[in-house]
């Protein structure tokens, strides 16, 4: 097989045995958390929810990769991991700002989601500006005949030999929804870790709560970024390449990603919480 034909062939098939092993692994990790540091169980569960939100949300984001940069596939012209990091970290900053202002958890998480969604909305709009006015190509999806939201037909605008190009309306909406989920998930992880560290680190290190603040914020932020990147890359592995948005057939692979993100978040979250337990 030539190098050109050797596309990743990780199909949409599910592997039930591996999924079952994943769920068992998840329960074992939760059990370890409960045994070693009972107060960390609820934060760990919320960290897992955050990780799953990231993994699920990234599927909505229209990722075009290199073909999109050449106007041969729809989506934003970069990889999944970079886009997820951009949208999610913007959300994380928004959420961290709300947390520093002393808001309650729900407001903080929603602020994070709005931050991520706003970042993706701006990215999608500027991408379309460049596509339409810079490259001179209209927005057309190659995967569906009609846009599921506006009902506009796509085929007339699609150039021959391409999989579509530009950023159709449904992909734009998908990008914003993806940013909302990913930003909220990243912020939830940050917030839970921050609460754990603020509560436990002063006793562990033998210093006052005020002194522990910079360390707690920095460690929680760093772990949130680490967890975010792990979840984003695992989702990128699930998508393998490009996705147009919620209408793409690849979107149906999300259950795999949810299990994978849950296991990965439980593992990394457990290690992050163990810092105060050891």
């Amino acid at each position: 097989m030539s190098a050109v034909a050797a596309k990743p062939t990780a199909g949409s098939a599910m592997n039930p045995t591996a999924m079952a092993v994943g769920v068992v692994l998840l329960l074992i990790l939760l059990g370890i958390a409960y045994y070693v540091y009972p107060a960390g169980l609820i934060p760990l569960l919320l960290i897992i929810v955050g990780g799953v939100l990231i993994g699920f949300g990234v599927h909505f984001v229209p990722v075009g990769g290199a073909p999109a940069a050449m106007g041969q596939a729809p989506g934003i012209a970069t990889g999944v991991a970079m886009l997820a990091a951009g949208g999610g970290l913007a959300g994380l900053f928004g959420g961290a700002w709300a947390a520093a202002a002393g808001q309650d958890a729900l407001v903080v998480v929603i602020t994070g989601g709005i931050g991520g969604g706003l970042m993706m909305a701006i990215t999608c709009m500027m991408v379309n500006f460049v596509y339409v006015f810079g490259m001179g190509i209209p927005a057309a999806s190659g995967k569906v005949a009609k846009d599921p939201i506006t009902g506009d037909t796509q085929a007339e605008y699609k150039s021959q030999g391409t999989e579509g190009h530009g950023l159709p309306f449904i992909s734009f909406v998908g990008g914003v929804i993806g940013g909302l989920f990913a930003g909220a998930g990243g912020t939830l992880i940050y917030l839970e870790l921050l609460n754990v560290y603020q509560a436990a680190l002063p006793a562990v290190m033998g210093i006052t709560a005020a002194q522990v603040m910079p360390i707690a914020v920095s460690a929680a932020g760093m772990f949130a970024v680490g967890l975010f990147l792990v979840n984003a890359v695992l989702t990128a592995y699930n998508i393998t390449g490009t996705i147009e948005g919620p209408h793409d057939p690849k979107f149906k692979r999300w259950p795999r990603s949810v299990v994978a993100s849950a296991v990965a978040s439980a593992l990394c979250g457990l290690v992050a919480i163990l810092i105060v337990a050891m």
């Binding site: 360390i215 984003a232 393998t240 390449g241």
Partner: protein, 282 residues
Amino acid sequence: MTVKVEVIEGGIPHNKIMIAGIVSTLVCLYLTYLNVLTSTEMFSFFGGLAVVAALLWGSHTIKVLCSYGIGTGVPSAGMIAFGSGVIAMLLATKFGILAPIVAAVLAAVIGFILGYVSNNILNMKIPTMVQSLTEMAVVGALTLMGFAALMTGGFTFAGLTTGHVTSLGMVLLTHQQSFLGGCLIAVAFLLGAIAIQHPFNACLGPGWKQDRMLMLTAECGFLSMLVAAVMSFALISTGSAIISLVIAIIGWAYTYKEYMVMSKRDAAAWLDAKPIPDVEGH
């Protein structure tokens, strides 16, 4: 089952690089412990050398993994390496002198589970996936520990979270001005993540040569070490920071020169164009 897109021809086998990488990284990390034994900070530069050694190994692991078109771009491999590595590294710093070994073991466990998750749950089915992600997490953790040792002179949790400020002639203990409290770890994270993914991303293709890619890795490593050495002025004594800086500059200049020689060797043809041509008659 994915098809291997590129083949490794000639060069040093991967296992040899892996063993050499982990041994030299751990040795360099432990050499920074001379700081504690001699009560100085002069040996911090060994942390930077550990970073370079770990990156050399890591970039070759990325080469092994990304030879199977994984379809997500090479940078994502660097991101997952450091995303999983930072978590293992920070927990390991709690174990005092055992920290580097604990970091390697813990990162290997995390990487192994992530590898299983990607290969089986996400159905990637890439033969080297589990081994590569395991190695990558270890590389991420040890690289960050190397940066920590370079900037603070140690790798213990207490050393990373406390610093000293001199105010009106008095030396005060502070947590704000430290590797973790000042969030220098975020800069170290990205310095490493970019240095690990760039060499293969830049050198891949039919003209890939192992020695050229590894030389570029060393160049990226020393460049990162240079930036980290500048940042270490804030945390360790000026003399020690200057030692690190000088070593980083010498290493970078040498590897850059070698890399240029190798690039010219492997190029089909090259023209030494001047940035601004001299225009005569005006």
